[in-house]
């Protein structure tokens, strides 16, 4: 036990003591946020960086030439006379200055279909811009065509936007507002975190094993302790590094949330006050909208609050440990069978494929978190650590959780036992490339 503790401490310090680890741990949350911001940034640069494109409009109906308004990306010019008769010639003549030609047919009122011509592929934003603007205008015109005074307003008022609020009946009879989106997000994040951790820390274990084997320190160490102690010490030490890193991230998250929350509170307070004042004035419609936004905000908050965090956290830690143990010992066992990292791929590929299957199964279970696929994948120990994360926010029956955790830990212990048998032979074998056949022999004997 004393030796195991020594090895755990050494393995832990060997990673945690590294500058690169400290820097990465502190930077990672910000990097993730940065990666999340990239699509927004790209969108921003797309809009601001490019020039406004000219789109010609041929209006055969004579009604809608001006219906399509310009935006920051597109400028619409009506074509008339000879140009309208032969837009192709006009397009060619413009030599790229005209991005596309929109042709509005004469009977667009009865058959609402327009055509866009271009030598280029039409951007999605252009298509949606045209259809939205034309749809609105045509709808308004059709309503006006009925000749009923005030009908536009009536239609506006009559248009209903159904808001769905889901309430879960708990077994104890109480009601609880839930948010599918929030549950989904939490499940996916947990699944992804598990996947990332197990894979990257598993690889770390394998590299550690290979390194010890190649620089031959292993022979000195196993003349002092049992190979099993060395393997477990490494697995536990590295696992603790993972939990440390996770804990640091949670702390960072909480700090950011608190700082962000108080900043948001500071900025929100005066504006809601102002909104309340504005509401008393004529034309306070905007304020109503803001209040409605605040309502949605509080809905999100109750959604976040509605999740059973204690259960999720306990389950997450259990599945994390089980899944990590399972995969880490596989990596350790296989790592012991090779002399250098580059030879390891024949063994790691199947393991990585298992992990990837688990991730996809998890994402597949989003559609139906209580369906048969979700059920079976959360029982199979190789996929359950990831899949169960996705299901967790949707109240998984207790017996399923218990059974799945039991299967996971049973398998993890069995795999660790197998890996130890591979390991104790593998670490002392050099010079030859070993395959699954050799490994099978090592397990046997």
């Amino acid at each position: 036990m004393e030796k195991l503790k020594l090895i755990i401490v050494r393995e832990y310090m060997a990673i945690v003591g590294k500058k690169s680890f400290i820097v990465m741990t502190l930077l990672m949350p910000f990097l993730i946020v940065l990666v999340g911001l990239i699509p927004i940034a790209i969108e921003y640069f797309n809009r601001s960086g490019s020039e406004q494109l000219t789109v010609a409009v041929v209006d055969n109906s004579g009604q809608y030439g001006g219906a399509i308004a310009d935006d920051e990306l597109y400028h619409f010019v009506p074509l008339t006379g000879a140009d309208a008769a032969d837009p192709r010639a006009c397009y060619d003549k413009a030599d790229g200055k005209i991005e596309a030609v929109v042709v509005i047919p004469a009977d667009v009122d009865s058959v609402p279909q327009v055509t866009v011509y271009s030598e280029n592929t039409i951007a999605v934003s252009l298509k949606s811009h045209i259809t939205r603007q034309l749809s609105d205008t045509i709808t308004a015109r059709r309503i006006a065509a009925y000749g009923v005074p005030g009908m536009a307003e009536m239609v506006n008022k009559a248009t209903a936007n159904v808001d769905l609020k889901s309430v879960r009946w708990s077994a104890d009879g109480s009601e609880e507002e839930t948010s599918t989106e929030i549950a989904l997000a939490i499940g996916l994040i947990l699944a992804f975190v598990t996947y990332m951790f197990v894979l990257s820390y598993g690889a770390m274990i394998m590299n550690g094993v290979i390194e010890e084997k190649t620089n031959r320190i292993v022979e000195v160490v196993v003349s002092s302790c049992k190979p099993f102690q060395l393997m477990m010490g490494k697995i536990i030490g590295v696992g603790l590094v993972g939990l440390t890193q996770f804990a640091v991230w949670v702390v960072i998250l909480i700090i950011v949330a608190m700082v962000g929350g108080s900043m948001a509170a500071d900025s929100v307070d005066p504006s809601t006050m102002a909104a309340a004042e504005v509401a008393n004035l004529p034309g306070g419609a905007d304020a109503v909208v803001e209040v409605a936004d605040g309502d949605a905000m509080s809905r999100v908050m109750t959604g976040i609050m509605g999740v059973n965090y204690v259960q999720i956290l306990v389950a997450f830690v259990l599945y994390f440990i089980g899944g990590y143990l399972l995969y880490a010992s596989l990596f350790a066992g296989f790592g012991s069978a090779v002399d250098q990292a580059s030879d390891a791929s024949q063994f790691t590929l199947p393991v990585v494929i298992l992990m990837v299957i688990a991730l996809y199964a998890g994402m597949g279970c989003i559609e139906n978190p209580s369906g048969p696929m979700a059920f079976w994948c959360s029982m199979i120990p190789f996929t359950s650590p990831v899949v169960m994360m996705v299901r967790l926010p949707y109240d998984v029956p207790m017996w399923e959780l218990a059974l799945s955790v039991a299967i996971l830990f049973g398998t993890a212990i069995a795999i660790t036992w197998l890996a130890a048998r591979i390991y104790r032979t593998g670490i002392l074998r050099y010079g030859k490339k070993f395959g699954f056949k050799d490994i099978f022999l090592w397990i046997k004997g």
Partner: protein
């Protein structure tokens, strides 16, 4: 009774037998040589004594009783392929390996400081192992091997990688450890060092012990009735068909090697030579361990 007794040990790996009924007996406080060509089974035997692997048959005892798991604390092992954690500090690494052998943290630190001082490595204590030269790394590994004052030291090719100056220092340290009471098992190809420091040896070839005993006895038993004679300048020793033949002159030898015929005593031969030439000296030539090694291993083939 020996300190380490290996009794009839057999070790099989899938497909071949690494050790075939090997027995040996290492006396307390001696330096014992374990010789043999590559792949003969030396490393397998060392791993069994170290309890890294278990024998399929046979037993190993230490100090008169069967070896137990916790006896690894009484053994220090310097493997042929040296290895240290490259990213660890020299001091931390030595202390870690010492504590794995069961030393307390305080003792390990004290001993580490002492040994670094002895090997002139004190200023390297806080440096990473990878920053050290190969020779210095070897010294660090040596320290890690002996720091817990093991009763049995197993050195696998200890001198490989050391320059002559450091090799001498190492040899002195090994002898000092022996004088302090350690028993030393010494695996090597270097036959000169065997003659210089080993008292007894076992030669393993093809998984079996093919030669065993005290170095002096072995050399005497392998003597080929050769004597080296020196005669006065200008004289040349000629063969005598009834008594001896003259071996071809060896480069660098000023005396003449004479092999006695079967049944001829040294006394008879010298009497004859003394009569014919002005004899200035003669010694009996014992074969070197190198010759015996090569001869024995070749015979086996």
């Amino acid at each position: 009774m020996g300190f380490i007794e290996v009794n009839d040990v057999v070790k099989r790996y899938s497909g071949h037998t690494a050790l075939d009924h090997v027995s040996l007996n290492v006396p307390q406080g001696s330096i014992y040589g374990l010789l043999g060509p590559n792949g003969a089974g030396k490393t397998s035997l060392i791993r069994i004594i170290n309890q890294i692997t278990d024998p399929d048959e046979g037993t190993v005892s230490i100090g008169g009783r069967p070896m137990r798991r916790d006896d690894v604390a009484r053994i220090g092992y310097l493997p042929e392929e040296r290895g240290l954690y490259k990213k660890m500090n020299v001091g931390d690494e030595i202390v870690y390996l010492a504590r794995l052998k069961g030393m307390s943290k305080g003792d390990a630190i004290m001993a580490m400081l002492d040994w670094l001082e002895r090997f002139d490595l004190s200023e390297w204590r806080d440096k990473k192992v990878e920053a050290l030269s190969k020779g210095m790394q070897q010294k660090v590994q040596f320290i890690a091997t002996v720091i817990h004052r093991p009763e049995l030291l197993i050195f696998d090719e200890p001198f490989s990688g050391f320059d002559p100056v450091n090799a001498d220092q190492l040899k002195a340290e090994i002898l000092r450890l022996r004088d302090q009471g350690s028993t030393i098992l010494f695996s090597t190809h270097n036959m000169e060092s065997v003659e210089a420091i080993c008292e007894e040896i076992s030669l393993i070839n093809h998984s079996k012990v093919v030669l065993q005993g005290r170095v002096d006895d072995i050399r005497r038993n392998h003597k080929k009735n050769v004597i080296a004679v020196s005669v006065d300048r200008g004289q040349r020793v000629e063969a005598d068909p009834s008594l001896f033949t003259v071996l071809p002159a060896e480069a660098g030898r000023r005396d003449t090697l004479v092999r006695l015929n079967e049944g001829v005593t040294v006394r008879e031969a010298i009497a004859c030579l003394n009569e014919r030439y002005t004899l200035t000296g003669f010694t009996e030539v014992l074969p070197s361990m190198h010759e015996i090694f090569v001869e024995t291993v070749k015979q086996e083939v």
